[in-house]
């Protein structure tokens, strides 16, 4: 609640957190999901671009109007933004938020599958394990993150399984289509008989099975009947296949494969993707860039550079972001990726688009979220400063027009020890 309290208080600099005061809202609590945010710098991430001194009216959880000088209908709460930035709620990246609680404790982790027999199970769907009550959800949300691509992570097979898009509002179910997660290259070679060449061999066989070119009762089948049906859906274009891959030669093979099989793909990580920027742009294959990766961390990443995002964008590749380490607990770091990509040549607007509109489009949910336009869900963030700069923070998050409590287990811990120290 500190965010709202701060917005409502008259003097910015006079404001100090106090536990009791933090619960006060200015005026009566208006009907939830109706709000007028007034005088913001509205980054619509749409064709309208960024609007100075603009208002956003939300009715019934949906954006009703965007523009200057909107008037508040009766009963609608008004929030004065004082010119501060308003953006769509941000993309948290490809994470395991809600399917892992403590990474090192296996009993709390549901993100990967490790079946000894028949390890290749595209039908595995991690969204079924999603726990909207995870403490990771509010921790991410208070940082301005509103939705995530819940991804299956590599376990017993290089085909990890399916994930979906979760809004971080506490709702239990994914929105939009599922995506299939796949890993290629050195990191997956151990799962494919010690060679990345076998990844194409196995993939081809799975495709043949899914397309009915292999008898269902073949003793050599890799897939279960459910797996064949699932993969057939992706081959028919029902969802995107998101491929974690770094080496340029692997990305080249991937592009050929996708073209041949007519599947929609996206690249995640993509350390050397910039080397194939033209090809990726021609095929309109989006890349979730690890924008802090510049080390030859493996022989698959020798070409890693901080200019990856900028070069891809310049070539016309849709660019979003994805972290490599501690993606879930530290999902908030994704803003730093975007900001650093901007510091290395990506236009600021593309940095923000990479955290909003682009991932929404790539994941098939842009009809609902990812931009500030009438008819879209009111998933919004009012920022204390530049949203791509780690020097600033999210003041207030609305999801579906509902002001989210700006509290998490971490703010509770903070406030306990902040108070304790003061008492002493």
């Amino acid at each position: 609640m500190d965010g709202l309290n701060r917005i409502c208080s008259a003097g910015r600099h006079a404001w100090r957190l106090a536990a009791a005061a933090a619960l006060l809202l200015c005026g009566p609590v208006a009907a939830a999901q109706d709000v007028l945010i007034r005088d913001a710098t509205v980054h619509t991430v749409s064709a309208r671009g960024s609007l100075q001194h603009a208002d956003v009216l939300v009715r019934g959880g949906v954006i009703a109007a965007v523009g200057p000088g909107l008037s508040a209908p009766a009963g609608v709460q008004v929030v004065e933004a004082g010119g501060r930035p308003l953006t769509p709620a941000l993309f948290a990246g490809i994470t395991e938020i809600g399917i892992e609680e403590v990474s090192g404790e296996a009993s709390t982790v549901d993100s990967h599958l490790k079946l000894g027999e028949q390890p290749l199970r595209p039908e595995f769907d991690v969204t079924l394990a999603y726990n909207p009550a995870s403490v990771l959800v509010p921790v991410a949300r208070v940082e301005g993150l509103g939705f995530t691509a819940l991804g299956a992570t590599t376990g017993g097979g290089f085909v990890a399984g399916q994930g979906g898009v979760l809004r971080l509002d506490g709702s239990p179910d994914p929105i939009g289509p599922r995506a299939l997660y796949l890993r290629l290259g050195a990191e997956a070679a151990e799962l494919t008989g010690q060679s990345r060449a076998a990844q194409w061999m196995l993939l081809q066989q799975m495709v043949d099975e899914a397309r009915g070119r292999v008898a269902a009762d073949s003793p050599h089948a890799l897939l279960t009947p459910a797996g064949r049906r699932t993969l057939a859906g992706y081959l028919a274009g029902q969802g995107r296949i998101i491929v974690a891959v770094d080496r340029a030669s692997d990305i080249r093979q991937l592009l050929r494969w996708a073209q041949r099989e007519k599947v929609r793909i996206a690249v995640a990580g993509g350390a050397e993707a910039w080397q194939l920027a033209t090809e990726l742009a021609a095929a309109q294959v989006p890349v979730f860039v690890d924008a802090l990766g510049n080390l030859p961390a493996s022989f698959d990443q020798l070409g890693a550079t901080l200019e990856n995002a900028a070069r891809l964008q310049r070539a016309g590749v849709p660019v979003s972001f994805a972290q490599r380490e501690d993606v879930s607990h530290n999902a908030r770091k994704i803003r730093q990726l975007a900001g650093n990509a901007v510091a290395h040549g990506l236009p600021w607007a593309d940095g923000l688009a990479g955290l909003t509109r682009v991932p929404a489009q790539v994941l098939g949910v842009a009809d609902r979220i990812g931009s500030i336009e009438p008819g879209k869900q009111a998933d919004l963030v009012l920022w204390e400063g530049d949203p791509l700069d780690v020097a600033h923070y999210a003041e207030q998050v609305w999801l579906g027009g509902q002001a989210m409590p700006m509290r998490s287990r971490q703010t509770e811990l903070r406030d306990r020890y902040l108070q304790r120290a003061r008492v002493r």
């Binding site: 403590v102 510049n294 070409g303 607990h329 791509l388 700069d389 780690v390 020097a391 971490q410």
Partner: protein, 468 residues
Amino acid sequence: MHHLVRAGLAVALLSAVSSQAVGASRFLQDPYPSTYRPQPSEAVLIHNATVLTGTGQRLDDADVLLRDGRIEAVGRGLQAGAEVRRVDAHGRWVTPGLIDVHSHLGVYPSPGVSAHSDGNEMTAPVTANVWAEHSVWPQDPGFAEALAGGVTSMQVLPGSANLVGGRGVTLKNVPTTTYQAMKFPGAPWGLKMACGENPKRVYGGKGTAPATRMGNVAGYRAAFIDASEYIAKNSPKPAPRKRWFGGGDGSDSSGDSGGKRDLKLDTLAGAIQGDIRVHIHCYRADEMATMLDLADEFGFKVAAFHHGVEAYKLADRLAAEGVCGALWADWWGFKMEAFDGIAENIALVDRPANSCAVVHSDSPEGIQRLNQEAAKAVAAARRAGMDEIPPERAITWLTHNAARALGIEGQTGSLEAGKMADVVVWNGNPFSSYALADQVFIDGHRYYDRTVPGTKPVSDFRLGQEVQ
């Protein structure tokens, strides 16, 4: 285990106690001495900058004069002769070179292939005998990237698999062929210890001690008991009374120097005597308190707790006891002992009087952005309604306080006359996602200039990779 015994024997046979060990602790002999020499440098006047001194001061429109590898003067309107090269820093910020107290560059280098996994001697829970410097690969491409992030010095530590992981080494971040040529002259060694989950997981998982936190503490105590006894045996004996029949005192142990030299106990003894600085990987507040008691029990001092995601729960005590907290801005939850991490940790540890908050990386990515880590902590503090932390304060976390933790604050970590000219010129306020180091000086020599292509050092490993 077999290999360890064999290696230990070989070492014992080869080692010879030199006669150097008079006065200063004999546990500090360095047969692998620093060969670092400052590179030639021209005198430089960085003028019209926003200067953060590292001692808590901010000077606007100020100048910094570097000469002969040292900082000659800091202030407004400095005069310098025509021979002095001028760097117009209008709109730019100048800080001391950044110092990372917790790096594994060189010991866990890029590429992270199995042959490069040299950071954890995971063969016994107490390996105080190993020295991280003997694992450092100077061609790690991460050093140059850290330099571009403004890092001029760092402590390279062994990993945290062991209760006592070994000696850490402080390096100047210069491109060289040997680690000795990076070794920070006169910097004390660090001793790496680890609390909590890692040692008990690594050894408990093998069915050997320690398997529990109580096993961890028993392990530290046994090691320090051995070291205390070793010190007693190796302390100079009172001169024997002269007897009429001459010679020694006639006892069996006449002339006994305390037995053969033991590399493990050398290091632990050096720590007890305060010559080797103790750096402890420790997450939980209660375990940090246990380690402070352990330090009292054996008479050593803890220089810093590293990672300390719960340090905010113990901030007053850390400050009161002069112990630094070397911390991340936002990592948490990857294991149970990291579950209570909060983004305000650094700011809360910084708050008490006489505190020593340090931003550390433990990461080849994080070391490139210590300034951004600090920016996150400043923003989190503002969000929490704490007093605004000004840049001149935040910079101490990556410079002066880090130097204090390493025991090199007399030489570097602040922009003061006479200190090493380890200096960064930033393109603006360093506490931002958009901040980039424009120029980095080490002992006055400009090792990196962002505006001049080709000045960033290129590791041998990187050569020719792009040739098609």
